[in-house]
Amino acid sequence: MSEKNNIVEIKDLKVDFQIRQGFVKEVIKREKKIVKAVDRVNLSIGKGEIVSLVGESGSGKTTTGRAILQLAPKTSGEILFDGKPIEAKSGAYMKAFRARAQMIFQDPYQSLNPRFTVTDIVAEPLLFDGTTYSEEEREARVIEALEFAGLKPGKDFLNRYPHELSGGQRQRVSIATCFVMSPDFIVADEPVSMLDASVRADILKLFVEMKTQKNTSLMFITHDLSLAWLISDRIAIMYLGKIVEIGSADLIAGKCMHPYSQALTSVVTVVGDRNKRKRIVLEGETPSPIDIPSGCRFHTRCPLVQERCRVESPELREISEGHFVACHFPERIE
């Protein structure tokens, strides 16, 4: 049974995508090419917890987030929300679910309707939450949300259009739209990757504030390990559709055990670090998720590869409390 304190639990989640190859191959030859975007992932997110999914392109981090929000169809597995399975077929359930679980997208230039004013955008979710609001109530809610998101004074922004706002301000509008519903759970997919370093911090702080003020849980999807480390309670490292390591943020940053996580942390670029670290630069690039290598899927690039890795796929096992690694021979590379 699920734990009471988890807002989201996913068990053995698989998401496959079929690649279209043209009529002849598909119908006559019956060849199918499948991309295993997410391959048997288990993960839970506690109430009021921030969990980051970190990985390179094609690691399945975005698909995992979208599958939880029912924006990508799962192939198999179970997704529990607040302890109960998500009833994707029930309209009433989904309506309530959408109010409680929200998504923030990467590109603030494309995710806001250019013909809507800020009020229209932020107040839109209020039209569907089953309550009727008076004009004043609506405006008050919108202003409250805008000011929370750092657009002060909120009144000044009500009648602006997205094109009048900077990238950072747009992302704040997205966050206000999310905040206005007081969701229990947010999936934020690379919310700051298109923003200048000078405004990133403020946006990230908003997520931490939502967590402390409203106990909102967050799944932070990013390729940037240092940002994940900055705000997360736990970090999961993904490679080719699987979680290869998961543990507390500090543990992943400093004492991770999976060779891939170690390589990833070793090449993080920082400002002003005098210590010459040993960088582990892997050769080549992530293989295609259509042809996933046999055994451990990382074995083709692993600096510590052994015979067993080529044939047997390692399961995630707990090597110390709350620290799970999917590797046959986890050790620190010195």
């Binding site: 390179e56 392109s57 990133r200 911090a201 480390w229 900055l230 920082v270 400002v271």
Partner: protein, 324 residues
């Protein structure tokens, strides 16, 4: 011009004419680049770093023009040269890796042919010789030479970026400008490209200008760094000096906006406010409105000049240091 400098830019002003008036995108930028040196330009979007680079190779958009200033490259001023005269400079002497150019390769032309085309356009070599050179270049940037006849879609992102670097090196330029050469690459591929750039710098004694918004890249590939703000250089010096002994409040804020995963976990700080409108810049220091170390009235009235302070070549434009 000093003998060991390959490039000297003196009081460069590049403006853009738009309907509302004139945007002073680059306003009085001066710097020097020594042979074999790598200089980084860093700053927020819209601070003029790309415009500075485009001024050097003179690829400004139609409404942009060099208002005044000198661009001395190997002793010759590029600023007054015509488009035709510049044609022989680009690629042969100065080449540029544009932001996102790995996605601008011609999809219906073999990668090798695209590089051969560039070589033969600039040098009188025959097809065979050009092809041999492409193979040598592929080896240099670690791409399998068997892939010369492949199309861009058969290349991964990292390989396309390597091909773009090979193309930039094709005519043996003495200066390479890289505009965000590692942005939009995966973390591990970024690490590989950083290694490649450093490796090439050593092998070829390349002079480089690297433009990036990411200060952490600068420490990996540059010797010196220039911090730009609102069209001006506010601080310049060796990477070591600027990062560990920063003087300008903007540099300080910028450095503190980046987390250090190998240090203490503390929340990074944003820089409040936005850069000034370059159509009508304020009279005094351009950073004054956002500055946390403003010393008073003088900051709003007088624009501070870039002046050398202490350590060799470390210059800063701030009243705070002028007084001392």
């Amino acid at each position: 011009m000093e003998r060991d400098n390959i490039l000297e830019v003196k009081d460069l002003k590049t403006y853009f004419k738009i309907r509302e008036g004139i945007v002073k995108a680059v306003d009085g930028v001066s710097f020097e680049l020594k042979h074999g040196e790598s200089l980084g330009f860093v700053g927020e979007s819209g601070c003029g770093k790309t415009t500075t680079a485009l001024s050097i190779i003179k690829l400004l958009s139609e409404n942009g023009y060099i208002e005044s200033g000198k661009i001395l490259f190997g002793g010759e001023d590029l600023a007054p040269l015509s488009e035709n005269e510049m044609l022989s400079k680009r690629w042969n002497d100065i080449s540029m890796i544009f932001q996102g150019s790995m996605n601008a390769l011609n999809p219906v032309m073999k990668v090798g042919d695209q590089i051969i085309e560039a070589i033969r356009l600039h040098e009188p070599v025959d097809a065979k010789e050009a092809r041999e050179r492409v193979e040598r270049l592929f080896k240099l940037v670690n791409i399998d030479t068997g892939l010369v006849d492949s199309y861009p879609h058969e290349f991964s992102g990292g390989m396309r970026q390597r091909a773009i670097i090979a193309m930039a090196l094709a005519c043996n330029p003495s200066l390479i400008i890289g505009d965000e050469p590692t942005t939009a690459l995966d973390v591990m591929v970024q690490a590989q490209i950083i290694d490649l750039i450093n490796d090439l710098r050593q092998k070829l004694n390349m002079s480089m200008i690297i433009i990036t918004h990411d200060l952490s890249i600068i420490s990996e590939v540059c010797d010196r760094v220039a911090v730009m703000y609102a069209g001006k250089i506010v601080e310049i010096g060796t990477v070591e000096e600027v990062i560990f002994n920063y003087k300008h409040p903007y540099t300080e804020k910028l450095i503190k906006a980046f987390p250090n995963i190998f240090g203490e976990r503390e929340m990074v700080a944003s820089i409040p406010g936005v850069p000034p409108n370059l159509l009508d810049p304020p009279k005094g220091c351009l950073f004054a409105a956002r500055c946390h170390k403003k010393i008073g009235d003088i900051c709003d009235r007088i624009q501070p000049e870039l002046k050398e302070i202490g350590a060799e070549g470390h210059m800063v434009a701030c009243h705070l240091w002028e007084a001392n």
